[in-house]
């Protein structure tokens, strides 16, 4: 009856074959990381330098100066005193509960990650909006980036670069970049065809169309993407702490393993406070710069 056994049991490949595949893949990757690990590491060296410098800057600056700068930035972006007061109070509270330094670390890495995601994501989104073929190629990659458990792509990154800030940044960027790419693409594709046609009819070049029409009109959508990216980057803080990124994530990790309820809650709430500040400020900024599109509309 050996012939029909596949009816009852799934006909899987033999254990030996699987081992061969695993071994050869692992071996190949290990060789690769041995060969190029250093080169890649030195490639990221400037970024690491910057990260360290920025983190140090935030921590060594007196807390009140940081607070003043933050309040200034919030006001510059939103022009709302309510938001400024809310932000300052929540930052003070976080500091009062002893999480100031961790918060600064988190803030520095999130800022850098968001900048990177925007700097990479918007051009990718623009390229994607250019042709349906690039969209067809990039979309499944974004799906994978968003659904693949972070740990899975952390493994090769850690193998290549060890634990530390850079792998953390890479993980956060991979996880956080899809929204800004997707929404840049969407925003540009949704630009009114007739407006674009008008630009073409008046002899606008590709660059003039992109910067004069497409990006400005896609801006509200792009801003929504940036906002989502910030949120997703913040939600990665805890996972990033598993590969040695210091900040608000590490105490949370510690509380999970040791069942410290209050410590976990406090740090979790601090992350939430940061998220809300980032969210409200970026949204207020987006709304303010697009003011002429809303408001006094003719009906």
């Amino acid at each position: 009856m050996a012939d029909s056994s596949w009816l009852e049991r799934f006909p899987q490949m033999s254990r030996a074959d699987l081992t061969v595949i695993r071994k050869s893949l692992d071996g190949a990757y290990r060789n690769f990381s041995r060969e190029y690990g250093e080169a890649i590491e030195s490639f990221f060296e400037p970024l690491l330098q910057f990260l360290v410098w920025f983190e140090k800057l935030l921590i060594t600056t007196p807390w009140w100066l940081v607070l003043i700068v933050c309040a200034g930035l919030v006001y510059a972006a939103s022009r709302s005193w309510k938001l400024v007061i809310g932000s300052v109070v929540s930052l003070l509270l976080v500091g009062y509960f002893g999480m100031w330094e961790d918060m600064m670390r988190t803030m520095s890495i999130i800022t850098v990650c968001t900048m990177l995601a925007i700097a990479l994501g918007i051009p990718i989104g623009i390229v994607m909006a250019r042709s349906n073929r690039t969209q067809a190629i990039i979309t499944p990659m974004l799906d994978v980036m968003q659904t693949l458990p972070a740990f899975v792509y952390l493994i090769p990154v850690v193998m290549l670069l060890g634990i530390g800030k850079i792998p953390g940044v890479i993980a956060v960027v991979i996880y956080g970049i899809p929204p800004v790419i997707r929404l840049t693409n969407l925003g540009i594709r949704l630009v009114d065809k007739e407006v674009l046609e008008a630009a073409t009819a008046y002899g606008a070049s590709t660059t003039q169309r992109l910067f004069g029409v497409q990006i400005p009109l896609a801006m509200p959508t792009i801003m929504a993407g940036i906002n989502q990216t910030i949120m997703m980057a913040l939600s990665m803080v805890v996972i990033a702490s598993m590969i040695g990124v210091k900040g608000l994530g590490q105490p949370v990790l510690k509380s999970i393993t040791n069942q410290y309820f209050t410590l976990g809650l406090l740090n979790g709430l601090a992350i939430v406070a940061l998220a809300i500040i980032f969210d409200r400020v970026s949204q207020a900024y987006a709304k303010r710069t697009q003011a002429h599109l809303q408001g006094f509309k003719h009906d």
């Binding site: 007739e194 407006v195 630009a199 009819a201 008046y202 002899g203 002429h292 599109l293 003719h298």
Partner: protein, 410 residues
């Protein structure tokens, strides 16, 4: 006739994946539906041949799906044809490189869109200056020029508003000002007034005609509204299923519809408003040129009828009846004509719309004399021909023939 400014020859447009391969079937004369069913290609335009003279308003008319918007996009190559020649001022537009095409669009043509196509994120004045911005004209210069055109279209004071704050009619004025501010010779207007209320639309039509009187642009105007086409067009081409079914002057199309399709269109038109006296008047058969009453009476007797138009070297003088001549000749046949012999009948201009002369025509016992600005008698307008204008076109074939004569005679 001078060399046309724009010449389109044998233009075909097939939408689909492999238009080149399907072209032979189109050329073989297969129907649009058959080609779509068997190859999945949509025939957009078929064998279009147009010649557009400098300074005229050329209207392309057709219902939705007739290919008119596709056709107008070929002039500045927003759409590339599958086959055919587009030549403008002797330049083959199809042979331009992308850089040259860009330059061509900047300086030679501008376009007005059905849904305005304004940039919502730019203020009104920046929108008007857009064409100049693209050309790289310095800011001060382009804003000054934009201001000028904004004033011309009557939107002074709206400079800093955004398009969404304006009404439809105002937005289209911005669109028009934008098109005019580049000083392009050719103006493409894609259903420019179709999205507007009837009242605003006729206002805009008037404005366009008024502007055209001073600017003398070459305007290609797309519309689905025959009334609009007749009102502003110097020439009209009627498009159906991607083919031109008739080309000609408005009167031509009204009086001699080439196919049933055109006729169905023409039926709903207010002919009394669209036709001018000139198109339906008859050549003046009863005219007398005598100096004295006696001669006049002799000439009169040769003419059928009991009245005639008196014409001298100075042009039209007035209407005299046989009765009054006979009365006068009893007194003195050698006497000169005098004004008092003339009947009290108004004269009408050949350019007047039929609509405007109905009352005069019905009130008078005589056919109205048609007199041009120089005082020459051009023809007569019988009450019968006025009545024919209102008759159903297909019921009056005999009249159509006489109308044709009238057209030929002018």
């Amino acid at each position: 006739m001078t060399e046309p400014l724009i010449k389109i020859q044998g233009l075909y447009k097939l939408f689909g994946e492999n238009p080149k391969q399907v072209m032979p079937r189109v050329k073989a004369g297969e129907s649009k539906d058959k080609i779509l069913a068997e190859t999945g290609h949509t025939l957009g335009l078929k064998d279009i041949n147009l010649e557009i003279q400098q300074g005229e308003i050329y209207v392309i008319m057709g219902l939705s799906g007739s290919g008119k918007s596709t056709l107008i996009r070929h002039f500045n190559r927003l759409i590339d044809p599958t086959e055919g020649v587009i030549s403008i001022e002797g330049t083959d537009v199809m042979k331009l490189s992308s850089k040259e095409l860009q330059d061509f669009r900047r300086h030679k043509m501008s376009m007005v869109f059905q849904r305005f196509g304004l940039m919502p994120h730019r203020s009104v004045i920046e929108n008007v200056a857009y064409g100049l911005t693209v050309q790289g004209v310095p800011k001060e210069q382009r804003l000054a020029k934009a201001q000028e055109w904004l004033d011309t279209v009557g939107l002074n004071g709206y400079e800093q508003q955004y398009p969404s704050q304006l009404s439809g009619g105002q937005q289209q004025r911005v669109g028009l000002a934008r098109a005019l501010s580049t000083d392009a010779e050719i103006l493409l207007m894609d259903e420019a007034f179709s999205a507007l209320d009837p009242l605003i639309r006729s206002e805009m039509q008037d404005q366009l005609i008024e502007l055209q009187e001073t600017l003398h642009k070459t305007i290609i105007f797309i519309t689905h509204d025959l009334d609009e086409a007749l009102r502003i067009g110097d020439k009209i081409a009627i498009l159906k299923d991607g083919e031109v079914v008739q080309q000609g002057t408005p009167d031509d199309i009204l009086l001699n519809p080439a196919t049933d399709y055109v006729e169905a269109f023409v039926k709903d038109v207010n002919r009394a408003r669209a036709l001018t006296v000139e198109t339906v008047m008859r050549p003046p058969a009863r005219r007398i040129t005598a100096d004295t009453i006696g001669e006049a009476l002799q000439q009169m007797k040769k003419i059928k009828g009991d009245y005639a138009y008196h014409v001298t070297e100075d042009g039209y003088q007035g209407i005299v009846t046989q009765d009054s001549l006979e009365q006068a000749s009893k007194a003195n046949a050698d006497e000169q004509f005098e004004t008092c012999e003339y009947q009290d009948v108004p004269t009408i201009s050949p350019d007047a719309a039929i609509e405007s002369v109905i009352t005069d025509s019905l009130a008078s016992d005589f056919s109205l004399p048609v007199v041009d600005d120089d005082g020459n008698l051009k023809g007569e307008l019988t009450r019968k021909s006025v009545a024919e204008v209102f008759a159903e076109p297909e019921e009056s074939e005999v009249d159509a023939d006489s109308n044709k004569e009238a057209l030929v005679s002018k």
